[in-house]
Amino acid sequence: MTAPGEVPRWVDIGLIPLINITAAFLVSGLVILAIGENPIEALTVMLRGAFGYQEGLGYTLYYTTNFIFTGLAVAVAFHAGLFNIGGEGQAYIGGLGVGLVCLAFDGALPFALVLPIAVLGGAAFGGAWAVVPAYLQAYRGSHIVITTIMFNFIASALMVYLLVNVLIQPGQMSPESREFVEDVWLPFMHEMLGWVGIEVTRSPLNASFLFALICCGLVWAFIWRTGWGYAIRATGHNESAAVYAGIDPKRIIVLSMCLSGGLAGLVGLNEIMGVQHRLLLNFTAGYGFTGIAVALMGRNHPVGIVLASLLFGALYQGGAELDFEFATITRDLVLVIQGLVILFSGALAYMFNPIMARWFQRPAPSPEATE
């Protein structure tokens, strides 16, 4: 029996998100029509670019990896009722952590040791970048949305300073560190599949994709199967009720943001250790912000986040393909779609609820029927 204004569960977690996404894509289609191109054709090009051939698929999954990390980051904070808009900065600083570990230990330690240190380094740096806003929110009452935005800008200034003045490889112009020794590069997927005798085309997809999937499982277990996860969800649902349950919301805020920043920081694993093999500027390229769209679309559940990440991975890769095929459509179209997805599945998430409620509400059993 559903209460008035409520809808059956399958409508809530299945149909309404689907309608929201459809609305976002319909409006995107209108934009393509408005600039005089054919939306169906554009969609075909994007789909073929994202899934049609091995290299394209590799790129899609490589982008997906980043979005899983940042999407999980936003979701964990959401569960505690916090809006972490600073995924971008945390991923940036997390990448710094991964890069510093690689620069410090490459050539000195074996890969099997560098890898766990780099994972910890990335998570610790990303987490540390989130802890200050979390602490200020919990203990000094400053609004976390504002402080995390500020920390994005501070991160960006810090990285420019470090790369231009400290980490830059001597004797070169572009602000990049030296390349890591090849021993500490994360193995590419085409290499790993090559070891078991499967030939695939080269792509930037690397081992961090598997790690991202493992993280999904870990986050699911943590949020829904541990005491801490329960405390996070309780705080997010109702902070004062959580207090009566013996939970200290202040500590939970710091804990969840720490975790959130740590997950965002793991983007560095994919980008720095997996693909770029050096520290450089702006490698986060908006992945942190896309994480917001991913978490909203995936309804903060790891399964939903993987699906949403895959969609955005396909959009990013397919969007790159648009540049080659069309004169007037570029990959910037992906930003439009992304904005519309955030709008429809985030800000306007409840727009279709009343209609759905009217459609799916079962009529209350009449007294005669129950007698």
């Binding site: 000094r140 500020m150 459509i329 570029t330 439009v336 904005g339 955030i342 985030g346 306007l348």
Partner: protein
């Protein structure tokens, strides 16, 4: 001595020019947030407005029409924000982020489709821009010691939007603190239920505030592309919307302190450019990035409660649900 005096004046002059979009946007944010609606979307509205202004000015050759288009586009986005957050009680931060992402994509997509210049709009001739206004006798009075150069370099020689931004501050103050709308605006940001009980529409007030915010963001955007520069360049707001948000918070949601914060942030930006590679006596070379990050660091420190207390409007971020 005369040289450093002139240098100071030129830096202050640059400060004013850099601070203008910040002032417009900070006043915009102030209207919205005082009514209880968080606006992360200042950046996106400004960007869309900058594009609209430059595009229309390029096609029609009229800066005035560009300005009107900028205001229209920005107010349309403000209405969208209102529709999501006020009508449908959606998350205000999410809606703001959506507007920012949407604007950064749409301006480039439309720019490429319409002008085929990689997302830029064609360079505007002076006739399609807001050009500097030289005040009467600026050159004649230059000879007057102290006041002459101040008059010539600092007061004269800006475009009309710079003066409009400075006028927007007392106007905002007057509207917020001296009119009935302002009183109700402040009330609805603190306690919407009380306003509702008094028989005043919470929805109407908040939409009014959001539209005022859109209007001011439109001015900020038009200034960027048709006043300060002579074309739209992709992502030309470059975080100015967020910096304006910081300035408004730094000013504790009040017009005059927000103006001071905008000028301070503008000054830091103007100084950062001048100090690049210059060693200061006793301090050595200050990293430019530190000066550029200072507005954000200062805002965080303020929010942490170390420089006085910044208290947001009480009902900020909370959608109002009318009791039935």
């Amino acid at each position: 001595m005369a040289d450093s005096w002139l240098l100071l004046l030129l830096t202050l002059d640059a400060t004013l020019r850099v601070a203008t979009p910040l002032i417009f946007a900070a006043m915009a944010g102030l209207f919205s947030e005082r009514s209880g609606v968080i606006d992360i979307g200042l950046e996106g509205k400004m960007l869309a407005a900058a594009f609209a202004a430059a595009a229309v000015a390029a096609v029609t050759g009229s800066a005035g029409l560009g300005l009107l288009a900028a205001i229209a586009v920005s107010m349309a986005l403000a209405l969208l924000h209102g529709f999501a957050c006020i009508t449908h009680r959606g998350n205000q931060v999410v809606s703001g982020v959506a507007i920012n992402v949407l604007a950064s994509g749409l301006t480039v997509v439309l720019g490429i489709a319409w002008f085929k210049q990689g997302g830029q709009t064609p360079a505007l001739p002076d006739s399609a821009r807001f050009t500097p206004i030289t005040w009467p006798l600026a050159d004649t009075l230059d000879a007057v010691p102290v006041l002459g150069p101040i008059y010539k370099e600092l007061i004269s020689g800006h475009n009309i939007l710079v003066y409009a931004a400075l006028a927007a501050v007392p106007l905002t103050w007057f509207i917020v603190y001296r009119t009935r709308f302002g009183l109700r605006l402040r009330a609805v940001g603190e306690s919407p239920a009380a306003v509702d009980t008094a028989g005043i529409s919470v929805t109407g007030l908040r939409f009014g505030a959001v539209l005022a915010c859109g209007l001011l963001c439109g001015l900020a955007g038009a200034y960027l592309s048709t006043g300060h520069s002579a074309a739209f360049i992709r992502d030309m707001t470059a975080g100015k919307g967020y910096m304006a948000l910081a300035a408004m918070i730094f000013g504790k949601w009040r017009p005059w302190p927000a103006l001071a914060a905008c000028l301070l942030f503008g000054f830091l930006e103007a100084v950062a450019i001048r100090l690049q590679g210059v060693a200061l006596p006793g301090l050595g070379e200050i990293p430019v990035q530190l000066i550029q990050a200072l507005p954000y660091i200062l805002t965080v420190v303020l929010l942490a409660g170390f420089i006085g207390r910044a208290v947001a409007p009480k009902a900020i971020g909370l959608p109002y649900v009318k009791e039935r």
